[in-house]
């Protein structure tokens, strides 16, 4: 890796802490990812992206900014990145999956709060995340009470724009969200000084859709037995999709999919044929949260799908590309969020349908319901999901955890017992 220390320093980061944080990554990454058997060759690109995670991509974004373009960051798949892309900017999803930044977040947040929120604020407060520093503003949303209130604190440290998300999916809610989407378009235009046209928006819609489609193509390969790619690698790609340059990401992921489809045709797997297949559903696993996948896959099973925001929820729903007028396009963009089944909605029966469908599509033997500690919406929603899965005869186990490793031993036992149970 090139020397980025000057860049980080210019961004106002805490070099000492940042060194300490990054120093642990190569060993962990080596143990969890590089050491895997029968890895597809196409993972080499993603290994490179990871090795440059706070380097090359940040430099690219800085170069973009030097040309007068804007960088917008967010934490949620609902944020309509199409407008940012149409205005020539870059939209990135921020890191929020590290234990290291949690205690820093706890300086301003209560301990009994979702680790994702604590980690994300910790990254900003600790000067640990170059993506935070490079972004012109952060887009928050009202998906949960914890986030909603945390934006008020974040705004003290970084320009923060909040979108109000509806809690239901009725007509009034569609209207509310459409208005919010319009307001966001205006915000982006004001920040960038670029007027979004039907042509530029159409290009942006197609680009964002292409990125979603290539992820779908990747996940489609996971429906086969033996599975051609490990769950860890597949999720890593989804995690990196939030950071990488979209065009390059599409190109490299497509090339990997060619290889994976070839593997499927030859019956080659990253895990042995017949390995127990697990679907994980629940809260997101932002970079670098790999704990659950690692425990499951080192217990002899394979993760075949993530029904989460760092999984299918980020790409299964596309924006209608056939609309041509600006107003119709904006409406099409606003519809996407209302077709995603997040626990922030009530009711949210669509998520149960998604899980049942995906269990079939990905031929899952069991479901692990993963919920971050203190996540009320996903923890409460477990009851109805469990009931539906039990009625369908699908084994399910609930795990509540955070980003620390202190419960790794217990989780290992529970996962192994679950695998013994579904055998």
């Amino acid at each position: 890796m090139a020397d980025y220390r000057k860049m980080w320093q210019d961004l106002g980061m805490d070099l000492e802490k940042h060194d300490e944080f990054l120093a642990a990554v190569p060993d962990i990454y080596g143990e969890l990812f590089v050491s895997q058997q029968k890895r597809p060759a196409g993972m080499e690109y993603f290994d490179f992206v990871m090795s440059e995670v706070h380097g090359l991509r940040v430099k690219e974004l800085l170069d973009k900014k030097a040309e007068g373009k804007k960088v917008v960051s967010s934490f949620c798949v609902f944020v309509p990145e199409e407008f940012v892309l149409a205005a020539g900017g870059a939209c990135i999803g921020l890191c929020a999956g590290a234990q290291y930044s949690v205690p820093i977040g706890e300086k301003v947040l209560p301990r009994s709060l979702c680790p994702l929120i604590k980690s994300s604020l910790g990254f900003k407060l600790g000067g640990l995340c170059p993506y935070f520093e490079v972004s012109d503003f952060v887009v928050g949303e009202t998906t949960c009470d914890g986030k909603k209130k945390a934006w008020e604190i974040l705004a003290q440290y970084h320009p923060t724009y909040v979108m109000e998300l509806p809690q239901k999916k009725g007509e009034a809610d569609k209207e509310l969200w459409l208005k919010e989407v319009y307001k966001f378009k205006e915000k982006v235009e004001a920040e960038t000084g670029v007027t979004i046209t039907p042509e530029s928006l159409s290009e942006a819609i197609k680009l964002a859709n292409r990125r979603r489609k290539v992820l779908q193509r990747l996940y489609d390969t996971r429906k086969h037995d033996p599975v051609p790619i490990s769950g860890k690698d597949a999720m890593l790609i989804t995690q990196l999709s939030f950071f990488d340059d979209p065009e390059r990401f599409i190109e490299k992921t497509s090339a990997l999919c060619d290889e994976l489809e070839d593997r499927v045709a030859k019956g080659e797997g990253a895990a042995p044929k017949g390995a127990p297949r697990i679907l994980i559903t629940g809260t997101p696993m932002p970079l670098p949260s790999w704990k659950m996948h690692h425990i499951i896959e080192s217990s002899g099973a394979v993760v075949v799908c993530e029904e989460s925001c760092t999984g299918t929820r980020s790409f299964e729903t596309l924006v209608d590309e056939t609309k041509t007028g600006l107003n119709e396009q904006v409406e099409a963009i606003s519809r996407r969020a209302l077709n995603i089944n997040c626990a922030c909605y009530t009711p949210n029966t669509g998520r149960i349908d998604d899980i049942l469908r995906q269990v079939k599509e990905y031929k899952a033997d069991g479901v692990v319901y993963y919920s971050l500690q203190f996540c009320q919406s996903y923890s409460v929603e477990y009851h109805l999901v469990e009931k539906a899965l039990q009625e369908a005869g699908i084994p399910v186990m609930r795990i509540e955890s955070d980003y620390s490793d202190e419960d790794a031993g217990q989780l290992q036992t529970r996962i192994e017992a679950f695998l013994e149970m579904i055998k």
């Binding site: 084994p395 509540e400 036992t413 192994e416 017992a417 149970m421």
Partner: protein, 247 residues
């Protein structure tokens, strides 16, 4: 290989030939070898007579002489089935975790729950808080009957300070002990109720030796709670049954 005690059971067909139990100490590997040797001595056989060894418990990964490692959840289910095959639920309170297991008549796990992260409602919780009263676990059943005081905290650390406050307020030791046991019974029965209600229970693990807790658990659950002769060795017994069944 439990977090507190290591146990070994030798099984031939359906007969327990011998068993042993020692503290795990700091080296699970050493404790594993030693407890197996003691069980061999107790059975009056030689190590060469052993066909297969299955290990379980948190220390199972530390043992290098195993034919197979199986989780304590599957083992407790199988071991409980040896004594009470009709019971649909197993509650195990071990040193560092408590679990509720639903089983079928063959001793296979249907569903299970385990406490998250902390030691709330476990053997360790009881040991730490009871030691704070200057008592040992085996003395609890000999205390005079008393009305349980309300213990609100299930966190081991907080419960300890709650106990200190109660002592300072002049609350009788036996009332505090009864309160601690009741808080465990309540917590475990909430866990049990969230997977299945109104089924008879086999209660295993070291904590199951406590008569008061057994009675409180039965009252909270409203079902019959049955305890095998030596509840601490049920996980090891289950492992032995699984070892026998492999063949």
């Amino acid at each position: 290989m439990g977090s507190t005690a290591a146990k070994a059971v030798l099984l031939k067909d359906k007969k327990i030939l011998g068993w042993a139990m020692i503290p795990t100490g700091w080296s699970p590997q050493k404790a594993g070898e030693e407890v197996l040797q003691r069980a061999v001595d107790a059975a009056g056989i030689t190590a060469a007579d052993i066909h297969r060894v299955v290990g379980t418990g948190y220390g199972r990964v530390a043992l290098d002489f195993l034919d197979k490692a199986v989780t304590e959840i599957s083992c407790h289910a199988m071991g409980a089935n040896y004594y009470f095959p009709e019971n649909k639920m197993v509650i195990d309170i071990g040193g560092q975790d408590s679990k509720v297991i639903l089983v079928n008549k063959q001793g296979k796990v249907i569903n299970f729950l385990m406490n998250d992260k902390c030691a709330a409602g476990t053997g360790r919780f009881l040991q730490v808080t009871v030691n704070g009263l200057g008592l040992e676990l085996d003395q609890l059943d000999r205390l005079p009957p008393a009305e349980p005081v309300n213990i609100n905290s299930m966190c081991t650390v907080f419960a300890e300070s709650e106990v200190i406050s109660l002592l300072a307020a002049g609350t009788a030791k036996e009332s505090i002990v009864a309160g601690l046991l009741k808080s465990i019974a309540k917590r475990v029965s909430t866990m049990a109720g969230s997977i299945q209600e109104n089924v008879n229970v086999t209660f295993t693990g070291g904590v199951a030796q406590n008569r008061l807790l057994r009675e409180m658990l039965a009252r909270e659950l409203g079902v019959e709670v049955m305890v095998p002769p030596v509840p601490q060795i049920i996980g090891a017994l289950g492992a032995a049954i699984i070892a026998r069944n492999i063949g």
